[in-house]
């Protein structure tokens, strides 16, 4: 820090130093990811002989083909979508309404509600997972909803826990945001005799588009990256979401790490794409909770 002190007077050399340092850090940060991509392009036999840190003799996309067809990644992507899309929509819907009720409807006990919802999201999942697992095995579901005939090992079970666990954070962020919307807008509607639902759906929600976009981006990433819930609450290998299915690429006795690298890259790809496309929303989502209105 002190090294940067006289930056204003002798800007040049310090600027160079600053850039050198940041470039070094940035490269160091990108390196592991680059390494994974590199390893996934090389045959196992070659890296076993030369190590991962070596010049390539041959490059191939075979591992991507293998991960795609042999490990049936498309099916697991689909599983992820079956879980994440409904969970995301439900979370945002439930959270926005609860936030509206807390921030705008002046219901009794709103503060307590907000604390309960927010604190629920901060707990480590392991604190509740043992009884949850038991509960899930005990709740029966009709066959058309779950072929395991229980909440355990069903898509619905995973959707529900994602919603229940994540919506607290969204309520907190959205309630803070809604408080910054000028009261006059809904006041006017109230005079016109608008119902609660109308004030929520027609008047408040459209104003919340930026925060909804930010939360959707963030929650998509978190739900997509989930590993634990599926690990504990699912048992059928063919219903696993893609992040947990990555473990299947690991052999019982022998693991082809290059194949695993290709799988990792494929699994990471959707979140990396979302991040590149919705960069602004992603950062906004992460910082919304911290710089409250």
């Amino acid at each position: 820090m002190t090294a940067l002190a006289p930056a204003r007077r002798r800007a040049r050399p310090l600027r160079v130093l600053l850039h050198a340092f940041l470039a070094l850090v940035a490269l160091g940060w990108l390196l592991p990811l680059a390494l994974a991509v590199y390893a996934s392009l090389r045959p196992y036999e070659e890296t076993a002989r030369l190590g991962y840190f070596s010049l390539p003799e041959s490059l191939t996309l075979d591992y991507y083909g293998q991960a795609w067809s042999q490990a049936e990644l498309p099916r697991y992507y689909l599983n992820t979508l079956i879980i994440v899309i409904p969970a995301l929509l439900l979370t945002l819907f439930l959270a926005s309404f609860a936030a509206f009720a807390i921030a705008r409807a002046r219901i009794p006990g709103r503060r307590t509600l907000l604390i309960v919802f927010t604190a629920g999201n901060l707990l480590p999942p392991q604190v509740l997972i043992t009884p949850l697992y038991t509960l899930y095995t005990l709740v029966p579901l009709p066959l058309w909803l779950s072929d395991s005939q229980a909440l355990y090992d069903s898509y619905l079970g995973l959707i529900l826990i994602h919603v229940a666990f994540q919506f607290g954070f969204c309520v907190f962020v959205m309630a803070n945001f809604m408080r910054t919307i000028p009261e006059e807008i809904t006041e006017a509607a109230l005079v016109d005799g608008a119902s609660v639902w109308r004030r929520y759906w027609k008047l408040t929600l459209p104003l919340c588009r930026p925060v909804l976009a930010a939360l959707a981006t963030l929650q998509f990433t978190w739900m997509y990256n989930d590993f634990l819930w599926a690990l504990v609450l699912m048992s059928s290998g063919d219903k696993l979401p893609v992040t947990s299915a990555l473990n299947n690429l690991r052999g019982q006795f022998f693991t082809d790490y290059n194949l695993l690298a290709a799988g990792s890259v494929l699994v990471a790809l959707p979140t990396l794409i979302v991040f590149q496309l919705l960069h602004k929303q992603f950062v906004a989502g992460l910082t919304l909770g911290s710089t409250k209105g």
């Binding site: 820090m1 002190t2 002190a5 006289p6 930056a7 204003r8 850039h19 340092f21 940041l22 470039a23 940060w29 990108l30 592991p32 990811l33 390494l35 994974a36 390893a39 076993a48 190590g51 991962y52 439930l94 309404f97 609860a98 009720a101 002046r106 219901i107 503060r111 509600l113 309960v116 919802f117 604190a119 901060l122 707990l123 480590p124 392991q126 604190v127 509740l128 997972i129 043992t130 509960l135 229940a164 666990f165 919506f167 607290g168 109230l190 119902s195 990256n225 590993f227 690990l231 992040t243 790490y257 695993l260 690298a261 990792s264 990396l272 910082t287 909770g289 911290s290 710089t291 409250k292």
Partner: protein, 290 residues
């Protein structure tokens, strides 16, 4: 804001009750209920089937006295917290401070730093294996060593923490960067006019105004340290030196022996630690609001 006395129609009340009711049921039924059940079950020796017998505090006694992984898990969780809190978080803040100025390529540096944030910790765990592998790994190839980084009990927790920090730094940096951008530039100008150098300006003027952000980062750091699970599980299922409290809880469900009561006791230890921080955090948050 004048609080008006409002009368809701019967339909409005119904909508509110249903909407909030569903939210409360989800939160209580799937989060708080099971949390409470963990506390209750921790005093039993239930195995998931058959009758439930009360054993009082015996599980906790066994945990402390006859279950060696428990103490290595506690030690690892403390190390994890210390490493994230004392190394990764300050480094994230440092990067945020460096990046909080007009800088060419700033966007590139930022993107590189928080790219790992969007990766799942399971993927981070797999990438770590490429770097740390004994025979083929990059670390040994570059340094010329032949250390079994992930297998050696005395070093593996450290290198895994580095991998976790890889992800944590970017997270912290984004949050601090947003906090720094919100600092009134007039403050810095005033300090500069008074002859303060950049370090003085930061520590005396800017840092104190970041207090709310600091609290949030602290909580994120603690929560991340207590939640740490995916990365060690992806590497070796959290064994052989990589024990964590979260892994021990999970092992008692998905492992061979389903010891619900015993697993719950570990969960309660985790709960007590995290509740301490959650209560501090929330009381701070809601006090400021008033």
């Amino acid at each position: 804001m004048a609080v008006k006395t409002r009368r809701y129609s019967a339909r409005d009340v119904t909508v509110l009750v249903i909407g909030l009711g569903v939210a409360v049921i989800a939160s209580v039924g799937l989060v708080w209920g099971p949390t409470l059940a963990s506390v209750v079950l921790s005093a039993t020796d239930w195995n998931g089937f058959g009758p439930i017998e009360w054993v009082g505090g015996r599980n906790y006694g066994d945990l402390a006295g006859e279950y060696p992984p428990f103490w290595s898990a506690v030690r690892n969780n403390v190390l994890w917290l210390g490493f994230l809190g004392l190394v990764a978080t300050p480094f994230g803040l440092f990067c945020a401070v460096l990046l909080d100025r007009r800088l060419r390529l700033s966007r590139f540096y930022q993107s590189a730093l928080y790219l790992p944030v969007v990766l799942s910790l399971a993927v981070v765990g797999f990438i770590a294996q490429l770097v740390y592998s004994t025979d083929y790994g990059v670390l040994n190839a570059v340094t010329g060593l032949s250390v079994d980084w992930l297998g050696d009990r005395s070093v593996n927790i450290w290198v895994v923490m580095v991998a976790a920090a890889w992800r944590h730094v970017g997270y912290v940096m984004i949050i601090y960067l947003a906090g720094l951008k919100a600092v009134d530039p007039a403050l810095k100008e005033a300090a500069a006019i008074d002859g303060a150098n950049e370090a003085q300006t930061f520590f005396r003027v800017v840092f104190p105004t970041l207090r709310p952000v600091n609290v949030i980062v602290l909580v994120i750091t603690v929560i991340e340290a207590l939640r740490a699970f995916d990365i060690v599980y992806a590497i070796n299922k959290g064994r052989n030196g990589l024990e964590l409290l979260s892994v021990l809880v999970t092992e008692n469900i998905v492992g061979e022996a389903s010891r619900i009561g015993f697993g719950s006791a570990i969960a309660v230890v985790l709960l007590v630690i995290s509740l301490g921080f959650i209560v501090t955090y929330l009381s701070q948050l809601f006090r400021e609001e008033r």
